[in-house]
Symmetry: C2
DNA sequence: GTCTATAGCCCGATAGAC
DNA sequence: GTCTATCGGGCTATAGAC
């Protein structure tokens, strides 16, 4: 993973420049013609480097997308800063952050499909739950922690700890909808966000009430369990039997 | 879409046999080695047909997946039949159907990522919201309509009409979780299903109450809006400006 | 209408020289 | 770090057998 080490001040090494050039060229081309239609050869050519060199910096075409995640997240963060300093109500903060999210990714909508494509493959290092994506995911989750932190809502500690993750999941759901949203200027997604942010905010307030403690505890425990590392089954072959206990017939997912 | 027309009784035309042979071979290979590692050449060879012939029946490698959807759904439906005749409570019916779903797709878990990958790309004809997938999606939604229909719950008409779609969406969410679930025998997904089916059933009962009419109406209207055809912007020609309206048409009847 | 055989394009990815 | 050369495989095309 050719990772650049930041130099002193604004100085960039040749490698960093080349890497950035290739990435920028790729994103431009993706935006112009979409992901599938953009060939690595075209990217290399337009960037003025050889095909092999492009692969020197990005192990695969999909890895360009990983870099892209980082990019948009930075944009998102930058765009969110103002809202997070100005607003204090949870609803306004969450709404603002969700809107800036949509704003930051809008230019890339036409090749968003590929994003989710890679994102949905658990075997891909690019999927948002993979270790490789962990840094961006954490940074992104951190943003939602901020949404909470300086808001006026009073959230009990047990929930407080889990909530940023839940909000991140919520935001992923919205992105999923957005990807499939072909309406002009994505008004449907905006509509959905407005409606659901309202619900989410109310739900948080509701779940924070003392009376809700039992339900809250039960649900949080479920979440914790679901996240727990795989427990080997009772004293038997610790078969991480994940793969193919092929039964027989039957196929997968339903459209 | 080469759709086979059922012949008299068990008779299959040569073409149907060849088609089925190729598909079955492909699925076997996918299960054995995964999607990416299975080449069209290998499928053709193992099936004893020429490469060209494989492409004669399936326009692309991805199109094999579309056929595969149909297969799984049939399996799911078959496996669900018993539960749907025996159970009457909504919760039991839904739980049963969700479990058979997981059962039907389990053998393909290891390459499920790939399936969903292609399926999730809005530009792909294989994505579950695309027109090409409409038949399977409708059939699948219909199954959830059945879950409701003969259950004891009393659901108001406005909700009744929308509910199968919502249940289908719910089930897609579960599948998405399942895809990323690496726990033995997918116990996490099962756990999640048990917990959420309970919630869903309660929510349906709750939402059906007369007092909830206003909230229900508001939410249903949002859903209707989100599905609506793109409204041309004020005083503009009806430019379908962004192509592909994935209008998730109401596949359900259940009036 | 089904099917074989084969030749070839295109493009993602890799090897190895410089 | 950068290049050239080459491979593997999805996909197309074509010509012809049955």
């Amino acid at each position: 993973m050719a990772e650049e080490q930041p130099q002193e001040s604004g100085k960039q090494s040749k490698a960093e420049q080349t890497r950035a050039l290739i990435l920028q060229t790729a994103l431009d081309l993706f935006r112009e013609k979409g992901y599938e239609e953009t060939t690595m050869r075209a990217i290399a050519e337009k960037a003025g480097v050889s095909l092999g060199n492009a692969y020197y910096y990005f192990r695969s075409k999909e890895h360009l997308i990983q870099a892209f995640y980082g990019n948009t997240h930075e944009d998102h963060q930058r765009l969110s800063a103002r809202i997070l300093t100005e607003e204090r109500s949870l609803k306004a903060r969450l709404l603002g952050v969700m809107r800036t999210k949509l704003e930051s990714i809008e230019p890339y909508h036409q090749f968003a499909g590929i994003l989710f494509k890679t994102a949905a493959d658990p075997n891909s290092p690019l999927n948002p739950f993979s270790p490789e994506s962990s840094p961006v995911r954490q940074a992104s989750t951190e943003l939602f922690a901020q949404v909470l932190k300086d808001s006026r809502v009073k959230v009990p500690p047990d929930l407080q700890q889990e909530l940023p993750n839940l909000l991140w999941m919520y935001h992923m759901g919205i992105v999923l909808f957005w990807i499939h949203d072909q309406s002009p200027r994505r008004w449907r997604t905006h509509r959905l966000v407005e409606h659901t942010v309202d619900i989410v905010a109310k739900l948080i307030t509701l779940a924070s009430l003392a009376i809700m403690k039992p339900v809250r505890t039960r649900t949080l425990r479920l979440l914790a369990d679901l996240r727990k590392e795989i427990e080997p089954l009772p004293a038997e072959t610790s078969t991480a039997s994940d793969e193919t206990e092929s039964k027989t017939v039957n196929p997968v997912s339903t459209p």
